[in-house]
Symmetry: none
Subunit: 204 residues, 4 copies
DNA sequence: TATGAATGAGTGTTCATTCAT
DNA sequence: AATGAATGAACACTCATTCAT
């Protein structure tokens, strides 16, 4: 019964989140288990449950990192794109790049939206809100600049874009099982068509 | 031991699919088990595996019924709507009505798009294709009639609409767990905004 | 993945009950686990759950054996005791002897009466009823023969004797933890005093 | 880090017992945990283990309060009942009323009699003894007054009544799970039949 | 063709107790 | 005297799939 060194709670918490992150990258959400996290860290299972209410809570915490990363993608793409609807396109498109660069995180985000998922993790909600605010602000700005129709509601648009882009990307992810010859679609092409339509649909 | 009557394979197959359908309606995809199907039908478990490769295959067959139903919704809404983009809107919107009228089927369709899902069921693919053809044809027609931009690719658009609409509806389904104040969004309102944007995006 | 020989369900069921019985004798109710049963029998865990709904159900089935044994004690003591209230005394006293001869079974019976315990096992209920009937019949007979007051209700008396005798025996079982010098009470003596009082209390 | 005020050991002890009492009332014995006590008090877990050997020890101390309460019930019912066996009846019956008025305490008392329970708590023993003395004294008095048979041993009777009444009340508590049609027994009726029999059994 | 008994790895969660600081 | 982070064994239950008959 060797007692592990006592760490500050916040350190330990972070340590667990990091370990969960590593495990997630390795095995994906579907095979993610607390056992694996615990084994990786070399700590007792109970310790995890001292810091988190449930497995889903741990995942929600990891998702905060994931969503932050996504927010980064948004911000960078906003900065590095020309004015006009191109900017909106770029932002949406960046979520596609994100889904390719961070496939495991993307899986996680999808997983979090399943109705079975339950968590009261605060960070996850906070970062979700950040994303929401970022995008809604972007739309507001585009409206002011006249790039976007006046009757577009930023919050609604936010939901709309989130829902549709997640949907498109999930579709891309699962297409093998879905439509016979969809193997051949060029993912990039579909994404571009999607962005084109969405953005045009918002134009004045 | 009473021998079960040996039915023609295709009858037996259909029998199993119907039973699976009943079970699905009763318990939903998440609680769907082969055990329940078998119990309902009063046949042996092995029999199911004689006719289907896996549980997912059974579900895929059920989904053929589900998708057929969806196709009906499409056709009806096409017939009952005025010419112009209104028709396209009506078709897309009908998938929303479908998701409300056949919640269990909708759950199933979503489930089939999960990356874990694997099946090679033929019927499912066939009906998927029917849907695809129907919608692509609709787009083609709209193009000819000049309601839709010329550079819109029907097949691509088909994927695009499928992906985005599923995404939006999933979002609606899971919003409780996702965004803080999204409880308040009016589902209908979001759907309408979505359809509006998509259809405008396709307009010339 | 060696497949164990397929047994008739009823044989397998009995096999599990017997194994559970063995495990119970070995470790007692409090340490009784399905894992131990499974290990003892060398079968898969799932097999147990094919035959029983829950751990408590398995225990309830074992208790049927236990209660049957108790019923035997009742019957034997009835036969081997003189007429009159002596007979009633003998029956009650036999439950004490039972609790000594089958301490593990007795523990089990007590355990089954805990409010946390849940089971829908039929056998257990059936044998419980047999016991109830046996004792109630005995009381009816004693009434007819005039050994017992006329206003004694057989069913009520049945509950009364069951409750009190279980209580006394539990007390005996746990006295170490309860009263300082109770180590010294002669168990037998207390039981006899108990039976004496109860039986006198029923006399005309 | 704020140092908790160092209280006198006896104060601290009492503080913990009181907290445990509060927790007990709130959640019941089965869900009683040291964690909850500690959380309620805002002290460290180790502190509890400085003052008490084990969780069961803490509960045993709480039981001292519970048993004291029971003693009060005994005393009050003794004072407020007419002379004769009615008094004895009243006292026994008061334990039933107690079990209804202080269900959580009653649960606790039952729990303490489980064989798994271990504690060497002194107070619990002391109050147990008080109860024992009270009841034994009562019996002695009844003997002197001639209400009770001469060959009744007060201490033995004490155990007898304690054991049987606990048994009856436990039976009442668990009857749902035990006998099929016992739902219908009137608790009060059974208790009265019980008291009647016991007391008659002690009469000369 | 049909049967159906058997498999067994997989996993989230609890909580009394310890002991280094 | 007080802390509180860490422990870790324990356990019930699921269900898709197999294969000997």
């Amino acid at each position: 019964m060797i007692q592990k060194k006592h760490l500050t709670p916040s350190i330990r918490r972070q340590q667990i989140i990091n370990a969960a992150d590593v495990v997630l990258q390795e095995v994906g959400v579907n095979d993610f288990t607390i056992d694996k996290v615990v084994e990786y860290l070399g700590i007792a299972k109970g310790t995890v449950y001292k810091y988190f209410e449930s497995k889903d809570d741990v995942l929600a915490e990891v998702s905060a990192k994931a969503l932050n990363q996504l927010l980064n993608y948004f911000k960078l793409s906003e900065q590095n794109s020309p004015e006009g609807l191109e900017k909106t396109k770029a932002i949406i498109m960046s979520s596609y790049h994100y889904s390719i660069d961070y496939a495991r995180y993307f899986e996680l985000i999808i997983y979090l939206e399943r109705p079975e998922f339950h968590s009261f993790a605060q960070n996850h909600k906070k970062v979700s809100l950040d994303l929401q605010v970022f995008f809604a602000d972007h739309i507001k700005e585009q409206k002011q600049k006249g790039y976007v129709r006046n009757d577009i509601d930023p919050l609604m648009t936010n939901y709309l874009v989130w829902g549709t882009s997640m949907g498109i990307m999930q579709f891309l992810d699962s297409k093998k099982a879905f439509l016979e010859n969809s193997e051949n679609i060029q993912q990039q092409e579909l994404m571009e068509a999607y962005v084109e339509v969405i953005v045009r649909g918002m134009a004045p």
